[in-house]
Amino acid sequence: MSTQTETPAAGKPEADQSPEPKPNFMRLFGRYLTEANSVMVTIYSLLLAFLIGAVLLIVSDEYTRSTFSYFFARPQDAWYASRDLVVESYTALFEGAILNFNTLEQYQAGQAEFGNLLRPLSETLTYATPLIFTGLAVGLAFRAGLFNIGAQGQLIFGMMGALIVGFSLDLPIWLHLPLAIIAGGVAGGLLGAVPGVLKASTGAHEVISSIMLNNIAALFLVWALGTAFLHSETKPDLVSKPVDDSAVLPTLLSSLNPSLRVNLALVIGIAAAVFTWWLLSKSTFGFRIRAVGFNEHAAATAGMRIGSTYTTTMTAAGALAGLGGAALALGVSSGGITTNTALDYGFSGITVALLGRANPGGIVASALLFGALKAGALSAQPDVPVDISTLLQATIVLFIAAPALVKAILHLRTPRGGLVTLEAKGW
């Protein structure tokens, strides 16, 4: 996804080029709101996605559906039931992600500490942290025109790499923790290199090869957790050994309240985003990535080696996802990883990168948004199905990827520069 501007669909000359009355603020603001520029497309995508989510909540809820069976006799029943369901569900998401109103009341009455109040926010940041890494992993590859769907597998490998260094070495913390984090990055980078090398040497499409590696990595984890080397010595179920204390990422806010899980990985994630920004916009390597992503033939003509750019970019992307795995294995899951630890962070990384339009800053912002969705959905289950976060994410990025669709649904105007779309190469 080298973000490219697309000229408006042909055959429709812009009609509203007529002389305009003198612009005032409200008119300009109104124009901005009705234009399909990238800010408004993002906002409308969010609104449309939550609207679709609401419709699905109503349709799939048994009680609410039953009120629609006598809709024409008492429409107000259906209306109230639907409204209550949607408001309750989205409030539950909000309370799990940002601020719990019950805790707020308790805090005001002096029954809860300030730390309790921060808990939803801490959860949001905790879930956002791996998403920053995987989002960067997908976004960086996107800039080279590569679609890295393998962040899930790379994250799993990163988890295993960090875990192995984390429990098998006996070192002081200032050496052990960095080594374990780096081991995660190296393991993820090794797996990420495979689709890059395959694409460079044989032309195999990275989408298929990285998906296959995802499946292979997931099965490999299942097998590895069962081996005597990794399997927990105390628990019978499929859990790994815990990481040594000297390799655990310190938490940031647990002095306020022990339930605040957000840890140093968040800071590392933001540092990784800054580094990626620097890499992409200030370094020679980043220039090569962008040149290859923008037009590989032109880049080749200019003397850049396309194959080696693919390989190094995919390795760097894999390393970023691997760091995300290290953040999990040394952070929230330092007591032992399971097959469930990776959740769907890798796949969500794709949506994070798309929503962030492959810019490091945008990726951090969208990781926070999707982290909030995940934290909200996990705390609101089972009242609200946990997969509502996946559903909302996919719907949001579907609209982001298809600005023309948003424009057509809402009858927006084409902005002056054309619509901003996302690109990845075909076979």
Binding site: A9, D61, L198, T390, A404, G426
Partner: protein, 422 residues
Amino acid sequence: MAVDTAPAPALVDDRARARHPKAGATYAVLGLLLVLAAVAWLGGRTTVIAVDRTLTDARWAAPTLAAVVVLGAVCAAAGAWMIAGLPQRRFKLASTAAVAAFVLALLFWAYSQEGTVFRAESILAGALFLSMPYIFGALSGVVCERSGVINIGIEGQFLMGAFTGVLIANITGSVYAGLAGAMIAGSLSTMLLALLATRYQVNQVVVGVILNLLALGFTSFMYDQLKKAEGFNDAFSMPVITWGPLADIPVLGPVLFQQKLFVYVGLAMVVVVWFLLYRTRWGLRTRAVGEHPAAADSMGVDVNRLRYWNVVAAGLLAGFGGAWFTLGNSLAFNKNMTAGLGFVALAVMIVGRWNPLGVLAGALIFGFTTQIARDLSAAGSSVPGEFLQMLPYAVTLVVVAGLIGKARAPKADGVPYNPGDK
């Protein structure tokens, strides 16, 4: 109806001799390694092959050592032939022989362990059944990509078909209504792809991946919601169709004439899609639109309209393939139950070189691999089950890496067509 079906003139002189040192050396080394390994480890073992369903007593025990040595020698010989230089038209034969010998040798080896029996009929019948999702998915991909739209979303269409199939079957009480529902669900999800790819000219790879996520989120969400109530996700089974006396023919009977509806429909669809693509006006136009849309447009074909309806129709196939996961296997729906097989189907399409007959061959290979992996892991193989489960994915990786360089996608595949900018 004048349709040009003559094959394109051969670009390479078939009689020319050519050397293939790299490929040849690989096969030669693999073959020799097999022979050495067999001599070292396989002395005294036997491989038992049984025709288990029709002739329950027929068993044939082969000495594993001899079999593996002979097959390894065949593989090495084919490799040597390639190094020495062989007529160009014999290259396919030699490489097929080498690969087949190698795989057969591995099979003899795998089934030489104590207590494992190669139950020929069950395994072949199972392999054909397991190749069905690949056939439906890859055929759907062929129809889309031949008309110039990349369909990465097969996985999502499988999920939609699997979920809707069992849901509609539960609501109506009829498996066949479920099948129809699955096809419509698959078609609705490709309709979104078609709309975005043709009218809104969105990048098809990006949208395909998003549609997969959307289908995963949607089906998982609905699964959780509907789980709260009874009777939406109960397993339905389909009857095995037996063709009277034909089913009693040894080997062929259980494999071909004692299967579920999916197998017959799948095999028929291979032929139907092949016929439609290469022998009808629609097929010629579809291929033209996929290769050179501007040329097709100048001959009066409405490119985007044809693409739209082809992609929608391809969704029917993928949705039907999705129903295989639930209705075909008599299972209830479960989250992410397709486990990436939609992407394997995509690899099958590439292996089959965007041709229905190639798809059949590729799907059979993958189905066979999956079946062997399942059978061995059930029989208690010394290889961990997880590695056996990796086999289809690993084979996909090898195949995609080894073949796509040579396989050529339709030229306009994935390129939106805008009649304005010719």
